[in-house]
Symmetry: C3
Subunit: 346 residues, 3 copies
């Protein structure tokens, strides 16, 4: 990230809204945490429980919620969502730095592929035949793109990404190092004691504004395509099996695995190291907590956890009650009131 220019606190409020409290003339040259901020930096208070750090901070200014505005005398911006506000301010001071456009002499571009003048192709990158690259595309060093791959405008592949033949990425997609898109799905049939491979002839289709974390894998479909809809955010070391569909704006934390043909709804949040077995349907707006093992379809929005996964309140209750029962203590008196409707009906 390159160093950006300075802004006065009042200029930041002009740009992004919020309420200025205190001296708007102070100059800000960057963002930092409450603990490490210096006089020219702006920090943020995500939650009132961090007020101790707020008291000790040397930050020149602070972003906080309206209800926390009285917690400090430092010049500050009171707003509805300090974390979101901070995200915008941080982006202002830390604009992404794109490499220079042009094709590195140590890159290989096969015949039938045109590179737009605005694109950047890194050293050692290999780009197959008939690849389509949008304007402003950045292909990092060591990337390998198979024949017929399509990369939409302003997408960026960091170093050492593999895209197998025929897969298509939308616009403004960011793919981190080590990602593999379009490897064969795990499709096998047993024949007289030997596995026979099912050809994996679908593709992977990635929508606009998707981000994919380091060393994650998205397999190509067996017949139809594997689809990641627009705005989906995927963390590191995530496995997405063949013919999975991930609904728009769903976020998937690291080490999660989603087995083949499962469909995840829109605006879901899937915690780290979750396991979701194949051929399930997960509704929109479902939250799956870390390490949950999802073995059945989830038809209703809500928060789920456990092994096997269930309503997360029930899982918490059952694990607590197991400890009580195992210790020879009875169940709590009011326990039935705490079971979710779903569980009580069972």
């Amino acid at each position: 990230m390159a160093k950006a220019k300075r802004y006065r606190l009042a200029e930041i409020v002009e740009r992004f809204g919020g309420e200025l409290v205190g001296d708007g003339h102070i100059p800000i040259s960057g963002v930092a945490t409450l603990e490490s901020a210096t006089r020219e930096q702006i920090a943020f208070l995500a939650h009132g429980k961090y007020r101790k750090q707020l008291e000790a901070t040397e930050a020149g200014a602070v972003i906080l919620g309206h209800s926390d505005r009285g917690l400090t005398d430092i010049p500050r911006i009171a707003c509805d969502d300090p974390y979101l506000f901070f995200a915008k301010v941080s982006a202002l001071f830390n604009p992404p730095v794109a490499p220079k456009s042009g094709v590195h002499p140590a890159a290989t571009i096969e015949d039938g592929t045109q590179v737009p003048a605005s694109a950047s192709i890194g050293a050692g990158a290999y780009i197959g035949r008939g690849v389509s690259l949008g304007n402003g595309v950045v292909i990092g060093p060591g990337c390998c793109l198979g024949d017929g791959v399509v990369i939409g405008a302003d997408s960026r592949l960091h170093a050492r990404v593999t895209i197998y033949a025929g897969c298509r990425l939308g616009k403004r997609v960011e793919v981190h190092s080590g990602v593999v898109i379009g490897a064969d799905g795990f499709g096998l049939a047993m024949e007289q004691g030997r596995w026979r491979k099912i050809p994996q002839v679908g593709n992977v289709i990635i929508g606009d504004d998707v981000e994919i974390g380091a060393n994650s894998c998205i397999d190509r479909g067996a017949l139809d395509d594997t689809v990641v809809e627009e705005g989906v955010k995927i963390d590191n070391l995530v496995q997405i099996g063949h013919n999975v569909r991930i609904g728009a704006h769903t976020a998937i934390a690291g080490c999660t695995g989603i087995a083949g043909s499962t469909r995840i709804g829109q605006y879901c949040k899937i915690g780290g190291a979750a396991s979701i077995v194949g051929h399930l349907d997960i509704a929109d707006h479902v939250i799956i907590l870390a390490a949950a093992v999802v073995t059945k379809s989830i038809r209703k929005p809500g928060t789920y956890s456990g092994h096997p996964a269930e309503d997360s309140r029930d899982w918490a209750l059952h694990t607590a009650n197991l400890r009580r029962l195992s210790a020879g203590r009875g169940l709590p008196q009011n326990m039935n009131n705490r079971l979710s409707l779903r569980e009580k009906k069972a």
Copy 2:
């Protein structure tokens, strides 16, 4: 995958067997799902429960089980195992496309390594000294092979695979992008407050017809070798520790980890995201379900799941009974009859 030629339905039956029902003259040019098939494509019905899709399909022909032959009037092939039959038909229409033979000018081949005329070495590949490559081998762009590596005939490494020095792959092995074979096992001894590394001087030996999914890792042995026997199929993001031995024709789904020195039998099926601790013995024909945590050796064929793993029927019963007990409901009357023999004896 390249476009293949057309076959009449009767020709497909001639090739692969099965019983032709209806017009054998119709031309077929590819395979597809029931939902997306068009008039010149053949689909398959894996199970009678998908009959709704069968009713709506526009496929020109269908592969189905003998007992489902009456479910449609579409020209069809009735057979014992529709999924396996479909696998063969799909392979007929989607033969693997190998890159042209030859060494890409942007590849590096060190001294003492001969490349057969029938082999293909991709751009940016690095091949160390004294590497042995069989006929028809394909080394994708960006692969790195250490000194003395052996790759058997007709094996294919997709882009960006690493094979450390001395490791040996059999014939017809397929390795997907990002795989690392032969990195050091995790062997450490504590000495006065500091970890001392145990040199990892064994190799990795991979049998014929093995497939390894994207970004999986197979560590070299500490002293003896890590061994993956013939016909083993490994999905993406799987970790296989040092000195593990995987028996022939075992299949391992994605995100599974197998710790050092564990031995897995032949014809096992290991579900996604399973964890198997070190120094265990798993018998032949064992099925381990998704996300199981295997902490003890498994001596008998069967299906296992849970955390810790046990007979999968017991695990299902115990988790169900925990919910009943936690809700203040008693155990079901006939529960003892449902416990496995193993559990009742305990």
Copy 3:
């Protein structure tokens, strides 16, 4: 690993201590397991329970504990810690083989980066601007180092490692193939139905003598740095989120995920496939067993396991008691005595 010279058994004792029992003149040319050792190799007995293998071994000499010295007549070295002793002997016979120094002609070094004469840069490696490389550094083929990266003396990156811009590694760090250091942390804020990315502007700082296994990922910090202290050992396919701090000499086994902002103490041992959620504090000397799901901070040294993780004795007891309760058998009589203090107080 290259072949090393021979040593007489007495020479090994002179070098590393221990008590020589039997003929010290026999020549030793390597290390092996009890099962595979030949007459010129030395094996080790980690535990008396392997005495059967000891009886059958053809090893020329054996390393064993003082209390096991009477189990064999083979020339032997009795010592306090046979495994550690073996580690030293193995290192004697298997010194690491560094590639020749120099820059491979197929590597790319950008302006402003000096390569010491003692360093080795592999084919296809890409090294950005202003990178600092210490003496004796080895950068394997296909590695990609962003601008401003710092690599301390005698560190080694195996093939195909990515280090994003600005990250810093200490001395004698060993990084295995496929590792990604410094990719963006998973930081997102929701704004009117779309995820807005939080710029990840911290770095990753890796201390001296750290080892990182194949395909593991360590994300850069959001504002402050992600820190891995000296002597930490990380296995394969491990995910370390942004702003995590791993204390010195902690060992982390494969497939483990540590979510953002969690702090792990010194000298912890974290089992394979463990999941540790974000924003936790784990004390020094904590042992977390395989597949544990850690959802709360751990303030005391001890051994933890389960889902959710608790004192591992409690977890073992609760899972055993669930089986008893589920089978309609009562709790064991003396069970309360077996509960940990922590649990009984609850």
